[in-house]
Point group: C2
């Protein structure tokens, strides 16, 4: 659990939780527990996705993947235990009972079906099929977008967001998630394993459905930019300090890692 | 998810949730959602435990196991999705926000570390080592006892149990869980695959730490009886109709399935 959860990473999702909390005018440290819960859900999904039966990746965040280091059995169980711990942390954080139950509901909804796990299933089923824009968008919306969108909403829950603010956070996160995934696909084509800390070119080898495979590299980059614009439009409707949240959204496509 | 969760099974854990709710004088149907959540956590754990990397079992509840039917990748993800759904259902059930957050906390605590997943890890690490009573009890307490004990507590949460009642439910469940696991070990030695719907003799083949391996069959059966007595002592302190809960506890050792 520690090997994977504490590996060097961008921590984009927990940063989004805290920046979203701040964008509503609330002290971002109040959202630290649920930010950790989101990162644990993310790490659980990385551990399981890297398993030999799924993506069979050996390298993650510059380290051997969990199953390479500890064996498949312990990797499956480490993922399961991180997933359980995420919900325990969210259910016990310092917040009203209403906020805690709400946070668990949002987190579980984003992680399951429809959501992260459902997206992984679609991704597996789509391998080797003809690239198709609608299919790619659905895969990304579930596999990446749902947890990124949930991250923004969870920061809002801690800050006591009303329904309209929550909707803006959800939409901002949804567009940021799409931008992030496009950048991820682009980096998988253009970067090096040494720089990324994970295998590159692996998507193409497996004929995965990606934006570059579908529309070419340059058009994919432009689509990423457009997603960032839309996300920022929603952020601008929020009442608190928005700099951190806007920078994170920009970073989701500008990053080289 | 449906293949595994809706397979014919005893549904002991959800029945314990509902009987515990009733034993506090509350309508047991009020606990139906959280009872389903417990069964989903149980099924998630069966799917993952049966995987080739862990117990490598082909038969469960009289059917091919999830990975035999759908492949390893989908089995891992079906387990993950059932786990997520369990928390979503518990967080959204008809109950106060306090009860919903509390239920998620109890369920996540019982499922993770320490709890069900931690017990599975200990079980794996203990394979092939010398049988040892303390180790066996710790494995059982986590792997089986924690979710069975949580089932009783969760029924109590729905019924608004006070701290003392909750403690009796927790203890009753803990002893019932130990009785249940002893009976499971005994049946693995004495029954047939055709009758149980899963492989038999598999524990001994893998040199798993079991009560019969440790103390012999007859002494193991007597130990199971003693656990039932202790569980029933705690149940007798509860204020509502106790017949269903007592029968279920008795059944945990008298069962032939």
């Amino acid at each position: 659990m520690r090997w994977s959860a504490l590996a060097p990473g961008k921590r984009l999702r927990p940063a989004l939780v805290m920046a979203s909390c701040e964008a509503l005018g609330c002290d971002p440290t109040h959202s630290l527990d649920v930010a950790c819960a989101v990162e644990m859900v993310h790490c659980f999904s990385l551990i399981h996705d890297d398993l030999p039966a799924i993506d069979d990746d050996d390298l993650r965040r510059g380290r051997p993947t969990c199953h390479v280091k500890f064996g498949e059995a312990l990797a499956i169980l480490a993922g399961d235990a991180l997933f359980a711990l995420a919900f325990r942390v969210a259910a016990n954080m310092k917040a009203s009972a209403e906020a805690r139950a709400d946070a668990v509901s949002v987190l579980a909804g984003a992680a399951g079906t429809p959501g992260l796990v459902a997206g992984e299933v679609l991704d597996i089923l789509a391998e080797g099929t003809e690239p198709n824009l609608e299919a790619v968008q659905q895969i990304h919306a579930w596999k990446t977008g749902s947890l990124i969108s949930a991250s923004c909403v969870l920061g809002g829950i801690i800050a006591g967001a009303d329904a309209e603010q929550r909707q803006h956070l959800s939409e901002a996160g949804r567009w940021a998630g799409q931008a992030f995934q496009i950048a991820d696909d682009v980096l998988n084509e253009t970067s090096t394993a040494d720089h990324l800390g994970k295998a590159v070119g692996s998507d193409r080898e497996k004929s995965k459905q990606t934006y570059p495979a579908l529309m070419g590299l340059e058009a994919a980059k432009a689509a990423g930019e457009e997603c960032v614009e839309r996300a920022v439009e929603h952020v601008q409707r929020l009442p608190g300090p928005k700099e951190a949240l806007q920078s994170l959204i920009r970073y989701s496509v500008d990053r080289t890692l």
